[in-house]
Structure formats: structure tokens, C-alpha cells
């Protein structure tokens, strides 16, 4: 189980517990349940690399405590 931090630099900062083999799509659903936006409106980025929905966190090498950028579509 890892915990990632998502920050949208406008006041929303969420910490989400997830598994390493969750996909980005699952992470978006978890974030959506915490922030209240729709999961398809969320875009997770790491410095211009937009993370795609079907790839797991492990493949993106997202580790425990890592910060991701939260943007909206």
C-alpha cells in the first residue's frame, strides 16, 4: 500500500492510499471520491507528462509519498 499526494496548487491537496498495481484510472476514481469532481474531469500529471488511465502506478514508478499534480480537463 502506498500513499500519494495530489496537489492542484489552488488549494486542493489530497492524500490517497492505494495499491501499487492500481491503474491511474482507479487513482482518479479515488481522488474523485475525495474531492467531489468527476473522475473523467481529472488529469494527473507529473511535469508535462500526462498520465494515462490504463497504466499502473508501479509502471509509472510512483512510490510512497510521491507528489503528483492535479489538473482538470
Amino acid at each position: 500500500m502506498i500513499e500519494v499526494v495530489l496537489n492542484d496548487r489552488l488549494g486542493k491537496k489530497v492524500r490517497v492510499k492505494c495499491n501499487e498495481d492500481d491503474t491511474i484510472g482507479d487513482l482518479k476514481k479515488l481522488v474523485a471520491s475525495q474531492t467531489g469532481t468527476r473522475p473523467d474531469k481529472i488529469r494527473i500529471q507529473k511535469w508535462y507528462i500526462i498520465n494515462k488511465d490504463h497504466i499502473t502506478l508501479k509502471d509509472y514508478e510512483i512510490h510512497d509519498g510521491m507528489g503528483l499534480e492535479l489538473y482538470y480537463n
Binding site: M1, K17, N19, D26, K29, L30, R38, K41, I50, Y72
Partner: protein, 377 residues
């Protein structure tokens, strides 16, 4: 200048009509080349020409959420705000289904509740196929009536949040609308008449088949026949039969398939009986489910072996929760032994919602509701 609403346009729901589409999507539309090139200076007449060229509907797609031309035209309609007559013309026209959907969408966004129901419900009869662009860029198949249903029942479609409208029964109680008259009502009445005529004939036929293949009369069988007399069942069966008839299946072939199904069900029934932990009640429920399942199978024309394997898998997975995703079902066999050690003899739940740490339990609860596996600790 090109993005300003017509100054003569009235405000919708208290705001600039273009604000019905939210800010981010709106900006994406303004930056779109289709908007800039094709939608500049459109009037109601030229809009019709552009609408006739549409060949798909959809919201935003792709990695950077590009809007479809459908959305650009919706935006354009919001901007110029055509008269209600024009919109109704769009909806009534029969030749161009995408123009119809465009008109329906615009009416859903801007019309008053009773108008929406009045003009959109006739479109339930239109079952032509439309192409829909999915968010990942591929096209998927939809039908006009599915789209209309989405417009009337959900509050989000094509990446645009649809304004809230009153429920139908509210409007009916206010007297603004008449009760809903389904187009299929006439068909149902016809079937009920057919029902009465053919009920006796069919009962005899089925009884003959059963006596061929069943050793004795089990109570379940008698009960089944009672169920069969239930009018609800009648309607379902006749409806199925009619549909099969429409598909030009000979009656003889149907009977053979029926015979095969009965044989299967018999085997399943005896297998079920052997499992002692299931109560008598469950057998009966299972029978009923099995029958409905078999009927469904007949409709779809599935293979015999598939229905059998499905019953087997249903036995095994009977204890699985309905909220579990298919992934979770696969992992279920491996999970319980591990977790029981952790729970120290407590009755463990497969999705870890009763973990000692309340935070983790809460997280697992959310994951279970989303259909994800529990956290691996």
C-alpha cells in the same frame, strides 16, 4: 468578438447561455479549429447546413480533451439562440438523425420542463444507430433512443452538465403533462389477447415434453407450473416467443431447444440437491433463477455448454458479494486464508472493511464501493 453571445439573446437560467457549458470545456471549444474556421458567423440557416454534415456525437476526447464538432455546434446554437420553432423543426425532421439529436440536445439545455418531455419523448421511437465518440477517441455504437434516454434521465451527457428538470410525475401531478403513453402499449395489449388464445395449447405441449424427460414429478416442477400460470410470466414468455417468431425461428426448432434446456436444468437440479448446505428455499429460488436464465439464453441463442458452465460458476460464486468486481472474484480464493490469520479468528470480510485501523477500513470501504480490490498492506 466571435465568442460573445448575441446581444439580443435572453439569459437562460439566469445567466449567459454560453455559461451552460462549463469554463474549461468552453475554453477548449473556443480554441478549437473547427469552431474558428467553420462556426464563424453562422446564422440559423447556415447552421442547418453544418448540422447536416455532422456524422457523430460526443463530448471531449483524447489526451488533451478535444471537443467534437457536435459540441461546437451546440455552443454555436447557444450563442445565436435560434427560435423555438427552428429547434422543433430540427427535432421533427426525419431525414437527418444527427440534426435531430442536435436539436434535442439544445432543447434539453434551454427548454422548459414540459416542452422537454413533450418533444423528446416521441423520439424514443427512433431506434436508428448513431456514432458516438468515446473519451478515448474511438467510436462506439449508440442509438437515438438511448441518447434521448440519457438526456432525460441522467444529468451529464457529452461532457456538458445538463440542467435539472422536474421529474415527470411532478409535472403530471401539476397537470402540465399527460400520463406517459408508451408506444409499446398497443403491442402489450395484442400479446395479452394472444395469451388467452394460446395459453391452453402451449400448456399441453410443455407438459408432454416434461413427462418425456423427468423421472418423477418433483415438487419443484409442480411449483414451476404454477409459476408458469402467473400472468407476469405469461407475458414474458409470450413476449419472448413473439420476438423469436419475429426472428423467424420455426416453432419446431424452439421446441427442440426447449427440450435441451429442460434436460440441462434437470441435471443442474440434481446437482444442487446433493449440496446439503443449501436449504430447500434456495433450491426453489435457484430453480426460478435457472428458468429465467434459460429463458434469457434462449433469447440470445447461447450454446448449451455455456449455460451449464454459467450455472456451475454461479454455484461457486454464490457467496460472493454483488459489489465485487470480476477481478476481485478471481482473487477471492487466495485471499481468505491470509486475512484470517490477520483477523485473529474474527469473521473476515473479503474487502478488508473491518480492518482494525479505521483509516484503512474506511479506505477499503470506498474502494469496495468503486469496485476496486482492497489495499494490500
Amino acid at each position: 468578438m466571435a465568442n460573445r453571445t448575441d446581444p439580443a439573446a435572453k439569459s437562460i437560467r439566469g445567466t449567459n447561455p454560453q455559461n451552460l457549458i462549463e469554463k474549461i470545456v468552453r475554453s477548449k471549444i473556443y480554441q478549437n479549429t473547427y469552431w474558428k474556421e467553420q462556426c464563424f458567423g453562422l446564422t440559423a440557416e447556415t447552421l442547418v447546413d453544418k448540422a447536416m454534415e455532422l456524422d457523430h456525437i460526443g463530448g471531449t476526447y483524447g489526451g488533451n480533451r478535444k471537443p467534437t464538432s457536435f459540441m461546437c455546434l451546440v455552443m454555436k446554437m447557444l450563442q445565436i439562440q435560434p427560435e423555438k420553432d427552428i429547434v422543433v423543426e430540427f427535432i421533427k425532421n426525419d431525414d437527418y438523425k444527427y440534426v435531430r439529436v442536435l436539436g434535442a440536445f439544445y432543447l434539453r439545455l434551454t427548454g422548459i420542463d414540459s416542452d422537454i418531455y413533450r418533444y423528446l419523448e416521441p423520439l424514443y421511437n427512433d431506434y436508428r444507430k448513431v456514432r458516438r465518440k468515446s473519451p478515448d477517441g474511438n467510436f462506439i455504437l449508440a442509438h437515438v433512443d438511448e441518447v434521448i434516454d440519457e438526456l432525460l434521465t441522467t444529468d451529464y451527457s457529452c461532457d456538458i452538465a445538463l440542467p435539472r428538470i422536474k421529474k415527470r410525475w411532478t409535472l403530471e401531478s401539476l397537470g402540465a403533462l399527460d400520463a406517459r403513453k408508451s408506444v409499446l402499449e398497443d403491442d402489450f395489449e395484442e400479446e395479452e389477447e394472444k395469451d388467452e388464445n394460446e395459453q391452453d395449447g402451449l400448456e399441453e405441449e410443455v407438459a408432454h415434453e416434461k413427462q418425456d424427460y423427468y423421472r418423477g414429478r418433483s415438487p419443484a416442477r409442480d411449483r414451476e407450473r404454477d409459476y408458469r400460470r402467473d400472468s407476469q410470466r405469461h407475458r414474458d414468455r409470450d413476449y419472448d416467443r413473439d420476438r423469436d417468431y419475429d426472428r423467424e425461428r420455426g416453432r419446431g426448432r424452439e421446441r427442440d431447444r426447449d427440450r435441451d434446456r429442460d434436460r440441462d436444468r434437470d441435471r443442474d437440479h440434481y446437482r444442487l440437491r446433493e449440496e446439503k448446505e443449501y436449504g430447500y428455499e434456495r433450491d426453489r429460488d435457484r430453480e426460478r433463477e435457472g428458468r429465467e436464465r434459460d429463458r434469457r439464453d434462449r433469447e440470445r441463442g447461447r450454446r448449451r455448454s455455456r449455460s451449464r458452465s454459467r450455472s456451475r460458476s454461479r454455484d461457486r460464486k454464490r457467496r460472493a458479494r454483488s459489489s465485487m468486481s470480476p477481478r476481485m472474484r478471481g482473487a477471492e480464493d487466495g485471499k481468505p486464508p491470509e486475512e484470517s490469520k490477520k483477523k485473529k479468528g474474527k469473521k473476515e470480510k473479503d474487502d478488508g472493511t473491518d480492518h482494525l485501523d479505521p483509516e484503512i477500513a474506511e479506505a477499503n470501504r470506498i474502494r469496495a464501493s468503486l469496485g476496486l480490490k482492497p489495499l494490500k498492506l
